[in-house]
Symmetry: C2
Subunit: 337 residues, 2 copies
DNA sequence: CCTCGATGTTGAAACGTTTTAAAGCCTGAG
DNA sequence: CTCAGGCTTTAAAACGTTTCAACATCGAGG
């Protein structure tokens, strides 16, 4: 099953030393064309596959970076990952994706493993603030979609406070004064920031802070959005919000579904704003107004920062992008009946 | 930056031999409690992180499997991946995700890298038939969502021919006789199989084969679905199909969007069936009728097969699941006006 | 007091590469 | 004919673990 043909088998078969085989693998130009051919033929014939562990042990570098993603099922993160991969590929690195699935334990396990693997660098969208503290143990770490509070590492983020403000300001301009915010858990920095932005929008408009009903969810997934929809409809009509700002598009889609199911109409009975502007937002039952983030650029930039990490004069940087509101049908202004 | 503290530094610091440190790491029960404490303290103090390359080089096994996915942005695959991860985790293995993004070149690179890394096993949904042939070079490989034609490896698939048949039979039963199939490229086995199923449905119903207009797309992504929508509407009304079967839900969502944009109504002007029944299908502008596949089970089973792969008496198995039609609004029967 | 088995610990040999310094070989100039 | 210098090739020493056989130590049983 595993004949385990090594570099020395190849060498013997080609009638050269193992050093020469190694040269063919790593510096093909340095070895004479004739010998090179012979060695390549031997490699082919024996089905030799270089043992990366041994290579890495001796050479010290790994040619791999990893992205520990918060939720692989969320298209937002796969778009970020695409950006990461493009940049990594340009630098000749491969990307391994790890899914923490919002589970701090998994996240820790993956980080440990990646450290042990001595990957060239780690990108991570951490589960919560604590895990963001994770000590750097020799492997460079860059935070993605989260700002590093201390100066111990680079980070790439989007201004979530501004994003929340944009969303809710838009709702206020459309005449809404009772607004729900759906999102959670609050241990997630983004949720807190977006809520803070929402509150700022109220303040700016001179509305009282209790104009915002916060519906906390256990995760940022579609099912939780549906649950929030039921809770929302359960509220007494007099206090029921006329608009909802969701902490991400998955929640918004779930909310939308739940509204339809319960016979309420969007935007007439409830206006909805999502966040992320994932591709499916535009294809939703009611095309979703959403706060767009530069997803791929986020990933691309993060990877680039990571690559500068072991330059001698490296200083940790914190890049922050601006979000942008994309208006669609889910917040069309209410028609007079 | 990289003090590179090794097992012997720890040993020295704790006043034991490196063998003992290794024992603490791998067989904690065999070393006396007092010594163990001392070693653990030293590890903590020095911030030692085991070098996985060296471990693997010596020990031979890697505790990692990988899934080379066809399109990480397609929720279908992330759901499969969830199943894979659950099963892997139960077996104490970590999962690395690699995204070939339907690019044969990338796929080959990743496979090469994974072979070199000596991962415990590889799951792959291959880009095309050729790449499915990829020689096994010591690392067990299991095909996911694709049937292995030769008996050289295990595979887990869903009956795509049946799926296509279910979809189109449903359309025929709803009275459609001019049907479009949207999908491609034809190098993808699934697309071919689903088309074959569609044709079989026609035959069963006694309809001529040219009742099916095949609109080939360049990929299975939303944007291509939109493109197909435009082509569809461009057809002369007399020949224009009244229903479309899409090779996956992403195409169907794109098609849907394009219809709405062009002022046509689903299902009245065009009935639409998707494939995969991803979560977003139910939340679409018009909830999508779709062919559901047991996504997580697919992944879970694949991982389990992979784990049996180096049992002594292993025989390659081909598991095949049955798809199931989920009917929603996008194929509701046309009302008499 | 000796032996034996159990329990902990260790020295040293792998594992399969890369890398470095040096050795061979050749060609053409002196 | 010799030798400098360029081009190829090589022997051997790492890299940081795990593992195995062997070595202490100790208490109990004879």
């Amino acid at each position: 099953m595993r004949p385990s043909v090594g570099i020395r088998d190849v060498a013997q078969h080609a009638g050269v030393s193992n050093a020469t085989v190694s040269n063919v693998l790593n510096r093909p130009d340095v070895v004479a064309p004739a010998t090179r051919q012979r060695v390549l033929a031997a490699i082919e014939e024996l089905g030799f596959v270089r043992n990366e562990s041994a290579r890495q042990l001796r050479a010290g570098s790994s040619r791999v970076i990893a992205y520990v993603v918060l939720d692989a099922a969320n298209p937002f993160f796969t778009d970020v990952a695409r950006g990461v991969e493009d940049a990594a590929r340009e630098a000749g690195l491969a990307l391994f994706l790890c899914n923490s699935a919002s589970d701090g334990g998994r996240e820790r396990e993956y980080l440990e493993l990646l450290h042990e693997q001595r990957v060239e660098g780690i990108l991570i969208t951490p589960v919560d603030a604590e895990s963001a503290q994770i000590a750097e143990r020799g492997t460079p770490v860059v935070l993605v979609d989260r700002e590093a509070t201390d100066g111990t590492r680079c980070s790439v983020a989007v201004d979530d406070v501004l994003g929340g403000e944009l969303a809710v300001t838009h709702l206020i301009e459309n005449g809404h004064t009772r607004i729900a915010m759906v999102g959670g858990p609050l241990s997630i920095q983004q949720v807190r920031d977006r809520r803070q932005g929402a509150l700022r929008a109220l303040t700016n408009a001179g509305l009282p802070a209790d104009s915002l009903t916060f519906l906390e969810t256990r995760s940022l997934q579609v099912a939780e959005g549906r649950g929030a929809g039921e809770r929302l409809v359960g509220l007494p009509a007099s206090r029921r919000p006329t608009a909802a700002f969701c902490a991400n598009d998955l929640l918004a889609l779930g909310l939308l579904q739940s509204m339809t199911q319960q016979g309420l109409r969007v935007p007439d009975d409830l206006a909805v704003v999502g966040y992320d502007d994932i591709e499916f937002a535009a294809a939703a039952a009611v095309p979703l107004t959403s706060v767009r983030q530069p997803r791929e650029q986020l990933g691309r930039t993060a990877a680039q920062l990571l690559l500068t990490e072991n330059e001698p004069d490296h200083e940790h940087r914190h890049v922050k992008f601006q979000p942008e509101l994309v208006v669609r049908a889910s917040t069309a202004i209410k028609r007079r009946p």
